[in-house]
Amino acid sequence: MSAGEATAQAIPRPRRLPPPLACIGLAIVAIGLIMALLGPFLARHGAGELISERPFPAASWALPFGGDHLGRDVLSRLLHAAPVTIGLALGATTVGFVIGLTVGFFTAEVRGRTDTMITWILDILVSFPPKLIALIAIAGLGSSLPILIATLGFVHAPRVARVARAVAMNISAMDFVEAARARGESVLAVMVREIWPSARRPMAVEFGLRVTFSILVLSSLSFLGLGVQPPMTDWGSMVRENMSGIFLGTPAALIPALAIGILTVGINLVIDWIGGSSGRRLTEELSR
């Protein structure tokens, strides 16, 4: 058992073109980012501009996706709301991710009593149902952008920390990290030079999962009327506004819901591709 078999264990480096599903995913993510950055400039109408007198005007050349319950252009509103939905999700994820990653890596490297204690706290924090925690926090603190970001960050951080710790522990048990320690590298050098390069890909997967989760939770909150508050709009609140139209058979609520769905599917396709090459597949990790 060595030479021949051992080579196969080495971490593969993807060099070839991504598979078709991953390309679709990348395209979707790219479009999502463009919408987030440029959406409001691309919109033909203002977010609050009334295009029609009647509610739910039908789709036409002027209104590709039809109008909403107040007769506004759904497409324009979709573009105006994109930065809110995506920006908020990215912001909340980044907050939770940075905190979680730092704590996770730190506990993995210090070990001992500190590790035991932090792990214990993380275990407790993780055993709360995330969406309910968000609901309760918002019920209490009211809904504003900073609170949404903080709440979601709070939900993410312990989960990311657990994953980061596990990933870092796996890597730091390897002899090459041990070799670095034996050389006398500092804790920081061990993390940056030895652990991080191998942790990059699995943590990228984690980030993607967390963004998906953020989008879903934020949209759900807005859908329940507890997320982004008027006059600001995100895709979730667009669904909420137009729910009454569903029973009339108009797609005004379906469009933003689909936008959310397509975006999360796109992210998942990319994650699955990155994850597949890092041995950490979506299915093993996705926790809500």
Binding site: A139, V265, T283, E284
Partner: protein, 314 residues
């Protein structure tokens, strides 16, 4: 092994404690004037004083917590602020409805996902497996309201075969079943893909083990390999998968109940938040959080016990 179970139970107890603190802190010990939050700006000083009295807001904060927790443990959930009905009475029916919804979903989704997951694992990379993998990759983590909207559009609006809302109440069994179909289907979609994928992943992880190859070389049949050799070893992860997803049900019902106007706990929670009905909110939130915690805790213990290495020490 006993220490393992005890450790988990202890952790669960602490978690519940922290949860109650969190619910309390989130709803009552807020910065700012609670009475304004509840009654609005136009309230008279008298009503304010009455509310302060009723909620015990004049006591120090930790005393408030213990009073609140004590009452809660005694089963006294207080009066709803909106219509002065005891919270427990409001809960009664809603709890039952949510329970029915959750149970119906579990009955549908658990066997189905296990079956599909095992099937995928039995014929890995076969045509069925690949198609399930791709489809589930698309379905996974779609927002519930998207699925709900599509189902409503199809079944209630275009085909008009099922009611779009459950608002009419449950007059008969048939009524109940018809009202349940769409919510259950929505929840199933929300969970199924995820469960199948994770069951499959847990199984395939085990299927790579040398003892599976060994079983094959003993002449064991495919079903024997999957059910007798692989499944017992994948049981721990699979139980956790089930628990995770059923735990998800607890928050998933909130959105689904709102979409279908289903009179359950989730909808009650949203109503309570909307009305700033503090006692009701606290009760519902705590029940849901506690259910989630107890549920995942039990699953975790069962999953650990399914491992003979932990059951029998060396």
């Amino acid at each position: 092994m006993a220490s393992l179970v005890l450790g988990r139970l202890l952790l669960g107890a602490v978690t519940l404690l922290v949860a109650s603190l969190l619910v309390f802190a989130g709803t009552q010990a807020l910065p700012g004037d609670v009475t304004t939050a509840i009654l609005g700006n136009e309230a008279t000083p008298e009503t304010r004083a009455a509310l302060v009295e009723r909620l015990g807001l004049d006591h120090p904060i930790h005393v408030q917590y213990f009073e609140w927790a004590g009452r809660f443990l005694r089963g006294d959930l207080g009066l709803s602020l909106v219509n002065d009905v005891p919270v427990s009475r409001l809960l009664d029916l809603r709890l039952k409805n949510t329970f029915i919804l959750a149970l119906a979903t579990i009955i549908v989704v658990v066997p189905l996902s296990l079956f599909l997951g095992l099937l995928c694992a039995a014929y890995p990379n076969g045509r069925l497996d690949s198609s399930i993998s791709v489809v589930s990759l698309f379905l996974i983590s779609l927002p519930e309201f998207l699925v709900g909207i599509i189902l409503v559009l199809l079944f209630a609006v275009y085909w008009s075969v099922l009611p779009a809302t459950s608002i009419s109440g449950f007059r008969s069994f048939e009524h109940l079943v018809r009202a349940l179909v769409l919510p259950v289907l929505t929840l199933t979609f929300a969970i199924l893909a995820h469960m199948v994928r994770m069951t499959r992943a847990a199984m395939l992880e085990v299927m790579r083990a040398p003892y599976i190859e060994m079983a094959l070389l003993k002449g064991a049949s495919r079903s024997r390999i999957v059910l007798r050799h692989a499944l017992p070893n994948a049981l721990g992860p699979i139980i956790n998968v089930i628990a995770l997803n059923l735990g998800y049900l607890i928050s998933g019902v909130v959105v689904v109940e709102v979409i279908f106007a289903y009179p359950g706990l989730g909808k009650l929670l949203v109503e309570a938040i909307g009305n700033r009905d503090l006692p009701l909110l606290q009760a519902v939130a705590l029940i849901m959080v506690a259910a989630y915690i107890v549920f995942t805790l039990l699953a975790d213990i069962v999953a650990r016990l399914s491992n003979p290495r932990l059951r029998f020490k060396q």
